[in-house]
Symmetry: D2
Subunit: 115 residues, 4 copies
Amino acid sequence: MDDLERLRDELRAFSAARDWDQFHSPKNLAMALAGEAAEILEIFQWLTEAQSRAPDEKARAAARDEIADVLLYLIRLADQLGIDPLAEAKRKLGENAKRYPADKSRGNARKYTDL
Amino acid sequence: MDDLERLRDELRAFSAARDWDQFHSPKNLAMALAGEAAEILEIFQWLTEAQSRAPDEKARAAARDEIADVLLYLIRLADQLGIDPLAEAKRKLGENAKRYPADKSRGNARKYTDL
Amino acid sequence: MDDLERLRDELRAFSAARDWDQFHSPKNLAMALAGEAAEILEIFQWLTEAQSRAPDEKARAAARDEIADVLLYLIRLADQLGIDPLAEAKRKLGENAKRYPADKSRGNARKYTDL
Amino acid sequence: MDDLERLRDELRAFSAARDWDQFHSPKNLAMALAGEAAEILEIFQWLTEAQSRAPDEKARAAARDEIADVLLYLIRLADQLGIDPLAEAKRKLGENAKRYPADKSRGNARKYTDL
């Protein structure tokens, strides 16, 4: 069992203990996930890119919390859909490596719409 | 090394090979992450909650791709900030367990603003 | 001068008086706009569709504030880009009317990805 | 009747002609609005702030379309909630003027979390 599967099982138990599955439809979890991702935006929206690369401790602490929330909702959403997020991320990264050949994509601002 | 750390290292190599670190400021990655999270929204926005619990294959395939993109950008963003997303998610889940006692939170629509 | 142009001019004066134009790049305003739009998500994410059609006074008050914030940032962003949001909305609505003929689109869940 | 009220009425007729009111719950419209706002993010996410202040024609055209979509969904959402977006924006701007006194807020990066 990988690390995300362990966290997935803890989230299942957490939700079951509170009878929250009724609220955890993919539709609702997608909204919660987007909301948490937007809270990360708010940390950096008035910082320059350079400032965002060296955030102060308050911004770093906020980023730690929001990154955690995004990961938790992402795992929960994937579980409700029967999707393995780690396997899909590995697959997608492999596809991106083919899609953006290193030699053709180097420093190319038109090509990095994917990681 | 955990699974997300392995993926983090692959993303570092992927970005280095393309000279994309210059574009991967936390500010820019936060924007890309929020954009990918919003693409998950678009899959479910016109579905009922019940429909979102039983998506057709086209919606499921889209969800697999977008969940992968969110995880990849989240890992990349966390890496650029020196944050361990798995450790933070475990910490946050522990805090949420204290914040939402099972007996007091059961089926309570006012309390599930966190997982 | 239309209503949004009047508000645009008030926002210009508001920002000039505070020397905030330096922070109001389209990139930053796009982040602020997406952040405010996501705050509307958070109002409705745990409500059913039916509940969202009859929100309580607390939810309605929150919606009033967030809708205002989205409109203010949208006008400010459009102004920084030299875009007339009202003219573009009228144009887009006209295009959507052609794109989704009433007779072919009636009640069609596949077609209403645009208003 | 102000400009947004006219557009509101056109959107009502547009939706009624297609029998789309059934899909236009505030919950669904909030998701569509956040999705469109995120599409504006994607236009600027890999541009520097300076580049975002002078976008090329392709980026400008995309911004015109997405700004239009955000305004249309915002008006539609506000209508479904019985909210007057223009009146609320004027109110909120007045509140912000009090909240951020010009003399105290000038160039102050800690204070411009609102316009």
